[in-house]
């Protein structure tokens, strides 16, 4: 079997086949037959006319494919140009994402340096697209771009409300005991509702506020936290309630601060006291376990979180 298979392979080469015919001494008359097509590798006879037709068809297909690709690339170029002109909007970025998806499909269909180059360009434009002016990681939490401060960041449009906070409490039973009983109602089935959903979530400790931000980060796949003091100060309009910040409060006495932070491991946090809850200045330090009637919190995130959130949402919309 192996020998005959090897012979079959060798016969696929006409010259070698002739030589072998002579050497083996088999069918000497056959070598005299003129214009007989060479035997194909599989042993099938070749039909040059048909092959010619096939070749022409392939060339026609390639020509049509090229024409189609040229049209596609031209369309995509126009689409990208249009998208770039409105890059700051979700529509613009969405158009770029559509272009990217199409280019990836084209690339998978047939590799092409022009497609590769355009894909790289589109991806670069997507990556450098301006961050969205606002996004909503969770119902009730609308993050708006604050670019008055540098570096720019996102902050919740208003302090987190009880209506939003109860969603966190519903999934975090351990936190329920740390909020005022008159602000939330826990039903027998474990569902949690707010007595006043629109009211800012106040009387919340720094630890609970921080836990909410971490929960939001897991929920919305992003980096969320309490705003630092400069960020909280940059919020417009100033919040009606005082806000917890992520900034550590050192106080006037450095030695006292060292004892607190190094020896005791206690960190005091700055409260932006716009509502004058603490009555000792605009920015006051307090222990993270403190909670007051008019002390709430806002949520902040970096630009990348907003950009990633938009891309995630737009890509989800593009899914068939």
């Amino acid at each position: 079997m192996r020998t005959s298979a090897s012979l079959g392979v060798l016969l696929s080469c006409p010259l070698l086949a002739l030589a072998l015919n002579g050497w083996l001494g088999a069918q000497p008359a056959a070598a005299a037959e003129p214009a007989r097509p060479a035997v194909a590798a599989e042993g099938e006879p070749r039909f040059p006319a048909l092959e010619e037709i096939d070749k022409k068809e392939r060339e026609e297909q390639a020509r049509r494919f090229e024409q189609k690709r040229l049209v596609q690339l031209a369309d995509l170029k126009r689409l990208v140009q249009s998208a770039v002109s409105r890059i700051s909007t979700d529509d613009g970025v969405s158009a770029l994402l559509r272009s990217e998806r199409t280019l990836v499909q084209m690339q998978q269909e047939k590799g092409d340096p022009r497609v590769t180059a355009m894909l790289g360009d589109v991806r670069r434009r997507i990556a450098t697209a301006p961050p969205p002016r606002a996004f909503q990681p969770l119902p009730g939490v609308e993050m708006v771009l604050v670019d008055a401060a540098q570096p720019a960041f996102y902050a919740s449009r208003r302090p987190v409300t009880w209506g939003t906070f109860v969603a966190f409490l519903a999934e975090t039973p351990a936190e329920r005991s740390r909020v005022p009983a008159d602000r939330v109602r826990v039903a027998a089935d474990g569902s949690v509702t707010a007595t006043d959903a629109e009211a800012p979530a106040t009387q919340v400790t720094w630890a609970s506020a921080n836990a909410f931000c971490e929960w939001l980060g897991r929920k919305a796949a992003g980096r969320y936290g309490l705003p630092a003091l400069p960020q909280a100060k940059a919020l417009t309009p100033p919040p009606a309630v005082s806000l917890w910040t992520s900034t550590e409060w050192q106080g006037p006495d450095e030695a006292e601060w060292r004892v607190r932070s190094t020896r005791l491991g206690v960190v005091m946090l700055v409260v932006l006291d716009t509502a004058r809850v603490l009555g000792a200045g605009e920015a006051v330090g307090d222990v993270p376990t403190a909670h007051y009637e008019r002390l709430g919190f806002a949520v902040a995130s970096d630009l990348a979180t907003g950009v990633e959130h938009r891309l995630r949402c737009l890509k989800a919309e593009l899914q068939p």
């Binding site: 020896r263 005791l264 603490l278």
Partner: protein
Amino acid sequence: MSAFPQISSSVAVRGRSRGWAALALGLGLGVLGTACVTPPPPETYRGRLLEKRVVKTETVGRLAAELAPAVEGRLRLALTGADLVTVHEQPVYETVQEFKAENETDRTRIRRELVPGKLIEGAVEQRHEKRAAGPLADADVTVNGQPFRTGPDGLLTDNQELILRLLDAPKSTEVTLTVVHAKRGQAIVRLARADVLQALGVNVDNRRPAGQDGLQVTLTWEPREPRAGDGLRGTVQVRNAGPKFVACVETRTVSRLAWLDGRSFYIGGLEPGQARSFSRAFAVPAGQAPGECFGILGVWDLLGAVSDRNVPISLAVQPR
């Protein structure tokens, strides 16, 4: 030629007083002759010291203070009086006459005789004596400007925690107390932290190995709900429920409220199973707004911060 008449004139003047000069010369010679003939009286010398006559005594009251062992965690100072007496004394000697021949140098030939009834008084001298005056009982004193009263045993109890408050400052390794008594003046006492801990009976053993796993910390308040203007005592109890010796345990309050902040509770070393309490006095200011006051009791030992044993402080201050 012109000088001669002047000389003559001078001689003429002398000539007029010649009688008086002769008289004076005669008298002088007479005295000299008498002196040469009469032997000089024998010289007198100081003999034995007969007594020291007290001319004047001046007494100045002095104050001495030292740290006494604490009772129920309250530091005490032992105040004692000491008089500084200055005695002005005049030595009185017998008088001795010396008889000897002229130019006699042989001391054996010199005769000395006591002059009866004649004394020689020496120069007044000062002698200082320090006389213990015993405990300064029932006396009003000030310590660093704050009024205190000693007990019948001369002990001053630091109810106001003046010494502990000075040691609460992170940088202070020793405190200086100025004790002033109206009559006895002032005494300055310097106390190192180690002295104070020793007086408090704190186990300052810092031997290793030390473990902090079994530390149990509780904080109680008396009264539990103070009113503004009230004093209250906070008591920290630390129990070592672990298997290892725990060294140098100390706790300290952290709060944004000055009256609640920065009080150290010295627990010291604890053998396995051992518990120790330490109390501190606090005073709610009269101006403290009613409501919850927050803080954290931080814990550390020889190995560093034991943050997971920190105790949240929440004191509900009632209206006056």
